[in-house]
């Protein structure tokens, strides 16, 4: 990784940056950090881009409103030239304007249409009222009318006869739900001096003002006098009833009705044509929408980047600073040349110049879609310091393996693998689906992790001999029951004889264990044994300790590799050696004891078998008793050898605590005596930046390291390491604990749920089995797969972050985030 300076011609700058964006391997630095974003050079262009994006968003909402499909472009459109930007702006402006116009027109037409519809209904209904009223004037004929109308019409007739005055009326339309309140209000305000008739409009009408579809009622109010008229009008306004003029003359009314009908027909036609036009415009837009969005994003990104550059007026060029990997410098030069040629082939091409710096470069790991997930796991704890060893290739295997040790069920492993395989095989089509569901994106992003976890779980499930809490007997068990009927009748439960040869003097001995263990995994007889857990506890705990200490030792060797890479010779002798000797003396010795116990003690000496935990504790406490037999020494010279180991281990503590600070004191003295550092040991950055390493590092180490800081830091490191050794070893026992919990949960589900259904006989049993499957399967998925899976994932991750990585990983770097169009476009979430 090297810091580069780019000198760009202003005309060529745009296309050069465009080429670099397509390449995606440089990270630009902001050279104007103190400049307000509104005062930067290209702020106008960025503003124009944002305006274009706003118009595109508006178009997108309109397209989505009409539920038209948006066409996704297959290929990646290039960033357009600056001249094209003006064309794009004009196109968007035109489309925007056109669509807004269509919308306004459509709204006005719709309102008109609704008003006319209401008027039509109004006229139809009031026609009915006045017909009734006229019919009442014909005496004595057709008295077979309905009663209620009869009364009302009689009233009207009488009233008009009596008063000889013209009755005024107002007709209108009011929402049905307000009709009752409207009537009551009219009655109260006008003291019963108005006459209201109403008729409901059967179909839903769209209100011209609010746009909702409502049930409405047509009403006509008859009154006499100006005052009442005013009051009625005010009440109508208050209830937001739409008042429509209605001519008294029936002839005029009919003409008005005809007119309204024709106008309604015309409006319908115009409305549908407007909608068609709108669809056409939107369909044409939807074909290009995504391409335009990508282009505008790229333009904006380029101008943002160019805002970070320094405008050198004297030399008439733009200066940019960027981090770039040394191995990619050729490709970058090529891209710059392409950019310069594309923008018109200026006489002077852009120049790339490597700079030297003491700053820590960003950390760049070359990843593919498989390793990306695991790198995210490691980076979540901390990004690797520049050039230190990346734990990811090792975590790639050990993490799924430790997960599987805790998950350990082949049946569940198969389910997890199938789920992961589906995600991996259908990668391309699933990539952009459900982008808003965060839980799904998390699962999908970790599909390769889940796949490996599933595969390893199948393997550990086979070794634990656990398939949905049942065991498989493929090779034939190594145990046989050789008890006679009389023994079985006497005892409720029997324990099989573990020693495969006759170690008793008596003839009662019967061989029940073949002497050869079951070839792959746990013997199937243990599934039926009452003391299965006692047996498996022992082996799972021992394995957890073995794998834990192995992983920690591996971490220490990685730290050795780091020291060798950075050429910290002193660290090897003063840090690595005490650490590894301490670990070896106590914990590698423990592993050797475990293997010794496994191979030397069989059933005949079961009572004499040493308890390794007691022996470890006694070793540290220097206490050697002879009883109980499990605490007595079991090989000659054990006491002396163990004492030696403990003393050696204890010596490592001051070795590590004092070694490095004393070294620093000596170095400081030497530096004070001489003027310049000639020690090769003190270089500590990568040897590839050979430009002027020595010079810069001499300057770096000229100033003295503060001694108190060194003492405190070393004290912390020492305590952390030595206490950590013991606590981390015990921490690995969670591998045993979680696998026990998983196995027990699995067994509970079997015994309490599935077993109930399967153990019933007959037809009832068949039905019960069917019904019992649902709770069993849903509990398996939710509790065992999801909850236990998450739990094991978390614990395996913690084991890596804390127990493994604390042995060698510093994690103080910052990630390399290149200017890349691909990254930019991938990250942008699809709008809901």
């Amino acid at each position: 990784m090297t810091l580069c300076q780019l000198f760009l011609q202003p005309d060529a700058a745009y296309s050069c940056i465009s080429e670099l964006g397509e390449l995606g391997i440089v990270q630009f630095r902001d050279l104007n950090p103190n400049v307000n974003s509104f005062q930067r050079k290209y702020v106008n262009e960025v503003r124009r881009c944002e305006e274009m994006e706003r118009k595109l968003r508006f178009l997108e909402t309109e397209i989505k409103k009409d539920e038209l499909p948006i066409y996704d472009p297959e290929d990646n459109p290039d960033a357009p030239k600056p001249r094209e930007m003006i064309d794009l702006e004009a196109t968007f402006e035109k489309l925007d304007h056109e669509l807004k116009e269509i919308n306004t027109n459509a709204d006005a037409l719709l309102r008109n249409f609704n008003e006319l519809t209401e008027l039509k209904h109004n006229l139809t209904m009031t026609q009915g009222f006045f017909d009734d009223a006229e019919m009442a004037f014909t005496p004595a004929h057709n008295r077979n009318q309905r009663d209620s109308d009869d009364d009302q019409v009689q009233l009207l007739y009488e009233y008009s006869m009596i008063s000889h005055n013209k009755l005024g009326f107002i007709t209108g339309v009011v929402p049905r739900e307000r009709m009752v309140a409207f009537e009551r209000m009219l009655w109260r305000v006008c003291r019963g001096n108005v006459f209201l008739r109403q008729a409901e409009i059967p179909e839903l009408i769209e209100d011209p003002v609010s746009g909702e579809k409502l049930h409405k009622t047509v009403f006509v109010v008859f009154f006499q006098g100006e005052q009442l008229k005013n009051r009625v009008q005010k009440i109508c306004e208050g209830f937001r009833a739409n008042i429509y003029p209605c001519p008294e003359n029936p002839h005029e009314r009919r003409e008005l009705a005809m007119g309204v009908m024709t106008r309604l027909e015309d409006l319908t036609v115009v409305l549908s044509q407007t909608q068609d036009h709108r669809q056409r415009v939107l369909a044409a837009t939807s074909r290009n929408l995504r391409t335009w969005q990508i282009k505008v994003k790229k333009i904006k990104a380029i101008y943002h980047t160019m805002n970070m550059f320094n405008n050198d007026v004297a030399r008439k060029c733009l200066i940019a600073e960027c981090w770039a990997p040394v191995s990619e410098l050729d490709r970058i030069q090529l891209a710059l040349r392409k950019g310069s040629e594309a923008s018109g082939g200026g006489t002077v091409s852009s120049v790339l110049n490597r700079m030297v710096t003491r700053e820590q470069p960003p950390t760049h790991h070359k990843l593919n879609k498989f390793t990306q997930g695991f790198q995210n796991l490691v980076d979540a704890y901390g990004v690797a310091t520049y050039r230190e060893i990346n734990p990811m290739p090792f975590v790639l295997i050990t993490f799924p393996f430790l997960f599987a040790v805790m998950f350990g069920d082949a049946g569940h492993g198969i389910l997890v693998t199938i789920f992961a395989l589906w995600m991996v095989l259908k990668e391309r089509s699933l990539k952009d689906k459900w982008r808003n569901q965060e839980v799904w994106t998390i699962f999908f992003g970790g599909r390769y992790i889940i796949l490996l976890m599933g595969i390893f779980s199948i393997y550990t499930g086979i070794i634990y001999n656990d398939v949905f809490s049942k065991s498989l007997n493929i090779f034939g068990s190594s145990w046989r029951v050789r008890f006679g009927d009389d023994t079985l009748a006497k005892h409720d439960s029997v324990m099989l004889e573990p020693t495969p040869y006759n170690y008793t003097r008596s003839g009662d001995y019967r061989q029940m264990f073949s002497g050869t263990p079951y070839p792959i995994g746990l013997d199937p007889v243990w599934q039926l044994a009452d003391n299965k857990i006692t047996y498996t506890n022992s082996v799972k705990m021992k394995f957890a300790i073995i794998i834990g200490i192995t992983q920690m030792g591996f971490g220490l060797f990685l730290s050795l590799w780091n020291h060798l890479h950075f050429n910290h010779r002193h660290a090897i002798y003063l840090e690595f050696l005490p650490q590894i000797i301490f670990l070896a003396c106590i914990f590698f010795y423990l592993i050797i004891l475990i293997f010794y116990k496994w191979t030397s003690f069989d059933g005949s000496k079961a009572t004499d078998a040493p308890s390794l935990l007691i022996h470890l504790i006694n070793m540290i406490l220097f206490s050697y008793k002879t009883d109980p037999p499990s605490a007595a020494v079991f090989y000659t010279g054990q006491k002396q050898f163990q004492t030696f180991l403990i003393l050696l281990a204890v010596l490592c503590v001051p070795w590590m605590l004092l070694g490095k600070p004393i070294y620093r004191i000596v170095m400081n003295k030497r530096r004070a005596n001489r003027g310049v550092v000639l020690d090769a040991d003190v270089r500590d950055t990568d040897t590839e930046d050979m430009l002027d390493d020595e010079h810069s590092h001499q300057q770096h180490h000229q100033h003295e390291v503060e001694m108190s800081e060194v003492w405190v830091e070393q004290g912390i490191h020492t305590i952390e390491y030595f206490l950590g050794c013991i606590s981390h070893t015990a921490s690995y026992l969670r591998l045993w604990a979680l696998s026990l919990a998983h196995a027990q949960l699995s067994e509970v589900l079997w015994h309490m749920i599935l077993h109930l259904g399967l153990s019933m006989n007959g037809y009832g049993g068949a039905i019960a089995s069917f019904f019992v499957f649902m709770p069993w399967s849903s509990l398996t998925v939710f509790i065992l797969l999801l909850m236990e899976g998450l739990s094991a994932f978390l614990h395996a991750l913690r084991l890596h972050w804390v127990e493994f990585q604390s042995k060698f990983y510093k994690g103080e770097g910052y990630p390399f985030v290149p200017f890349s169009f691909r990254l930019l476009l991938d990250e942008a979430p699809v709008e809901a």
Binding site: N368, D523, L528, V539
Partner: protein, 82 residues
């Protein structure tokens, strides 16, 4: 005893082939080192796991405790001979 040794050798050779021999046969490419590390680590972890369970069952200190009915069923299903 012989069966024990044979099984031990078979599995050690199996995982040894995967973890020690196969890495040399990976063709040159972008991911050669990564695949080598993956194969070695996988075979080391899996072999160690298998080995621990195998050794633990070689000389058991106690046998399975079976309920009377289970013992009878096993005796009739698996027989009394090895």
């Amino acid at each position: 005893m012989e069966k024990f040794a044979i099984t031990l050798i078979i599995f050690t050779v199996f995982w040894g082939l995967i973890g020690i021999v196969l890495p040399f046969l990976i063709p040159k490419g972008q991911n050669k080192r990564l695949i080598q590390v993956m194969l070695t680590l996988t075979s080391a972890c899996c072999w160690l796991f298998w080995l621990c369970f195998y050794l633990h069952q070689w000389k058991p200190l106690f046998g399975p405790q079976l309920k009377r009915d289970n013992a009878r069923i096993i005796r009739s299903l698996w027989g009394s001979e090895f």
